[in-house]
């Protein structure tokens, strides 16, 4: 959405934003003051869908001067160091952790904080020499990341193999109970030893991370990739230029039938989003000079050829619920067989239109945009009627076994990421094997990504990122809080009631 000059004063005088948040918000406001028709050549149809809020550009702005998500190959730091920052390859753990913290300051993204901070276990492991002393350093490093990168989209990866460093990282995240960094274990039952996986489950139940990604599946679909931001699977040494999203709940409003949606409105809006993405990418690659000037490109941390773009959707549940109503059914998405059929038909249509579109500068992904189940945001009134991704609206969820069976088939479409969240009751804490059985079952059926947490922890998953409930309550009361994601968490909870998500007890 375009911004207004009056937004500047509102931001500058806000009581609930920190200095840093004001700075970033002002920059973002400036990017949205320009008219996308003039700068990016958006046409009237594209503008209409933005104005009707069927397409949401997530306030990315109209002068894209850096890719939305950057996934640096940090192994370059170990082999070559960094000329631009005058860093030699690290020779011990202190130097490595220091170098990484320096480098993180210089990784751009849509929020200006790095969304990927590396395969921490692989980076750290060669430098572990003294378990006790090194543990303290790793823990201090992770705490430093939490306080200096106040944005829970900042994501670290571990696994699939077990390492000493991986064990120490898991131990530290449990002790720290910090929201940042977000963390994923790339899980592969053939590569990840059981005891390491069980430790990860324990951590996930206690502090809501790491989440589990189906590494074998993502490797098949995407090759060398990492899990970044919420749960986005993106090419390693590259990233994603942009991520707009279709608000399916809004798009479906007013249609008279499923046929009208599938044959007329949906392909039109989908196509408009694709052409809009083309224009954003062309500006970024051809005019912004990012790839010509960034030291990350020059020194081999990223390559332009490793970038693609993400085709987001939200509000599948809401679109389906409207159509169920049109068909005269008293059913809701999540517990309706017909609802699932409608959901799949919508996603198949989007997939078809997206796959028929020739995407510029996306050679890494066969010149195609990648479908992404976006986790939602609170940018407009319309977001109150668009449930995250393909998820079941909070309150409509069936019991866990049925919920998993309902959700997993929808993972197939989303090559650049999706994930489901399941809250368990405390009895599972003593039974991590039972949780791992469920995760393995989901992955054997093609599931991509699973997060679990205990219902009563302070650290909770909002949609794809972590917040502390206590911090969100402060944000709700209008106080300034450290993390931008705490503020997002407040917005999302107030509209989606995620804190009331169904607790998993094994009852029917």
């Amino acid at each position: 959405m375009k911004s207004k000059a009056t937004d500047i004063l509102d931001i500058a005088t806000s009581k609930s934003l920190t200095y840093q948040q004001k700075l970033f918000n002002l920059a973002n406001t400036a990017e949205r003051l320009l008219d996308p028709r003039e700068v990016l050549d958006y046409d009237e149809i594209e503008m209409m869908y933005i104005e009707k809020e069927m397409i949401c550009d997530l306030n990315e702005g109209y002068v894209p001067y850096r890719p939305r998500y950057i996934v640096p190959d940090y192994s370059v730091l170990l082999s070559k160091g960094c000329d631009f920052l005058d860093l030699k390859p690290p020779t011990d753990l202190d130097e490595l952790l220091d170098h990484l913290l320096i480098l993180y300051r210089h990784i751009p993204s849509i929020t200006s904080f790095p969304v990927f901070i590396g395969d921490l276990d692989r980076l750290i492991d060669p430098f572990v020499t003294h378990e006790e002393k090194d543990y303290k350093k790793i823990k201090r490093f992770l705490n430093h990341v939490d306080k200096s990168i106040p944005d829970s989209f900042c994501h670290a990866n571990i696994g699939p193999e077990r390492t000493k460093a991986g064990d120490l990282i898991l131990k530290a995240v449990i002790e720290l109970e910090n929201p940042t960094p977000n963390m994923t274990i790339r899980y592969d039952k053939d590569k990840t030893p059981k005891n390491f996986a069980l430790k990860a489950v324990e951590a996930c139940l206690k502090v809501s991370k790491p989440s589990f990604s189906n590494d074998a599946k993502y490797c098949r679909d995407m090759g060398e990739h990492r899990i970044v931001s919420c749960y986005n699977a993106l090419p390693h040494g590259g990233g994603a230029y942009t991520l707009p999203r279709l608000r399916l709940g809004t798009i479906a409003k007013g249609v008279q039938s499923l046929e009208e949606l599938l044959k007329d409105r949906l392909p039109k809006v989908t196509k408009a989003m694709a052409t809009m993405m083309d224009k954003r990418i062309k500006f970024l690659v051809e005019e912004s000079n990012f790839f010509q000037t960034s030291f990350l490109v020059r020194e081999g941390y990223i390559q332009r050829e490793n970038f693609s773009a993400m085709f987001g959707i939200v509000g599948l549940a809401d679109a389906v619920n409207q159509l169920l109503k049109l068909e005269g059914r008293q059913e809701r998405f999540g517990t309706s067989k017909r609802g699932d059929e409608i959901g799949h038909s919508i996603l198949k249509r989007i997939q078809e239109v997206a796959n028929n579109h020739e995407a510029p500068y996306c050679e890494r992904t066969n010149n195609r945009y990648l479908l992404h189940a976006q986790v939602g945001a609170n940018l407009s009134e319309e977001d109150t009627c668009n449930t995250p991704a393909h998820r079941v609206t909070v309150g409509d969820e069936p019991i866990l076994p049925l919920h998993i069976k309902q959700a997993i088939p929808f993972h197939e479409y989303f090559i650049s990421g999706t994930g489901d969240l399941f809250a368990f009751d405390e009895t599972y804490l003593d039974k991590p094997e039972a949780v791992l059985d469920i995760i393995e079952g989901a992955f054997s059926l093609g599931g991509r990504y699973i997060t679990t947490y205990l219902h009563n922890t302070d650290l909770i998953r909002v949609t794809g990122y972590l917040v502390k409930k206590s911090e969100v309550k402060k944000a709700a009361a209008g106080e300034a809080v450290l993390r931008d994601t705490d503020i997002l968490g407040y917005g999302t909870n107030s509209i989606a009631h995620v804190f009331e998500r169904r607790l998993r007890k094994d009852e029917i």
Partner: protein
């Protein structure tokens, strides 16, 4: 022959009925009646007397052709029917064929490590479960039986063959008659037999003060388990949640303290049992 069995409840994901995530099936019908039973409604099959029908607030229970019929979709789970049944039964059971139950299990197979049958007393349905287990094995799932220990092993040779592991109660030794209405050493003999063929996963004793001859029971079990280090002995503290008021009144001073449970754990450990767990919820 087409086997059928009355099922009280299916829990698709259970983490407390054996290793990993398991589907647990609770069969209707039990051959004993313990005074601390938490599910007395599983003891008998419905006699179709109809007492519960008029008391159901949502008309989920109806009388059709002299039979009590239950419509799950209308049930709000208030359990009024179970409270008013004077017969230790439930109108909310469902009859399954082996095929029907297999179909349910198959749907959850990717997420579970195995199936555990419980009850009631599942060995009462030995023939049915034998057929079910034979098919479930084909899904690569393990098959566990959760039993009170009172069965004639000669009558269920095939079930024992197809079962991977048993979880067996030893509820007491000399106090059984007042506790469960049973006077027998059959449970100990059966435990001994199952241990001898390496088919015991876990032995359980509910600790209820005065009602169970605790020291004697623990000593007897320990003398059998000390040579079987892989078998867990689970000591379960009596708890009152979920009991009917009448039971609560009778049992309220029979709940052991945490310290006493720890004392018992130390006691059986000293007798040579390797894996002892306390369960206090």
């Amino acid at each position: 022959m087409k086997y059928k069995a009355e099922v009280n409840k299916i829990i698709p994901f259970s983490n407390v009925d054996g290793p990993g995530n398991r589907l647990a099936i609770f069969f209707q019908g039990c051959n004993i009646n313990c005074s601390y039973c938490h599910n007395p409604e599983t003891i008998n099959c419905c006699s179709h007397c109809g007492t519960c029908v008029s008391l159901c607030p949502t008309k989920a229970i109806k009388m059709v052709d002299g039979k009590v019929i239950y419509e799950e979709a209308l049930c709000i789970g208030c359990d009024q029917c179970i409270r008013t049944c004077g017969f230790n039964a439930s109108p909310k059971t469902r009859e399954y064929t082996v095929d029907q139950l297999y179909e349910v299990i198959e749907g959850y197979a990717p997420f579970i490590r195995g199936v555990t049958v419980s009850g009631g007393e599942p060995t009462q349905q030995a023939a049915f479960i034998t057929e079910l287990f034979k098919r479930v094995k084909g899904l690569g799932l393990s098959c566990f039986v959760d039993t009170n220990g009172f069965f004639n092993k000669e009558d269920m040779i095939e079930l024992i063959q197809v079962t991977d592991q048993f979880m067996i109660d030893i509820k007491g030794i000399n106090t059984l008659e007042t506790l469960c209405g049973k006077r027998s050493k059959q449970h100990l003999e059966n435990l001994q037999y199952l241990l001898s063929i390496q088919k015991t996963y876990e032995v359980r004793t509910v600790v209820a003060l005065e009602m169970v001859d605790i020291k004697e029971t623990l000593t007897s079990v320990a003398s059998l388990l000390k040579n079987h280090p892989s078998v867990t002995y689970r000591l379960i503290s009596l708890h009152l949640t979920g009991l009917i008021p009448f039971q609560k009144e009778n049992l309220k001073d029979k709940v052991p303290s945490k310290a006493y449970m720890e004392e018992l754990k130390a006691y059986v450990t000293a007798l040579g049992v390797k894996k002892v767990e306390i369960q206090s919820n």
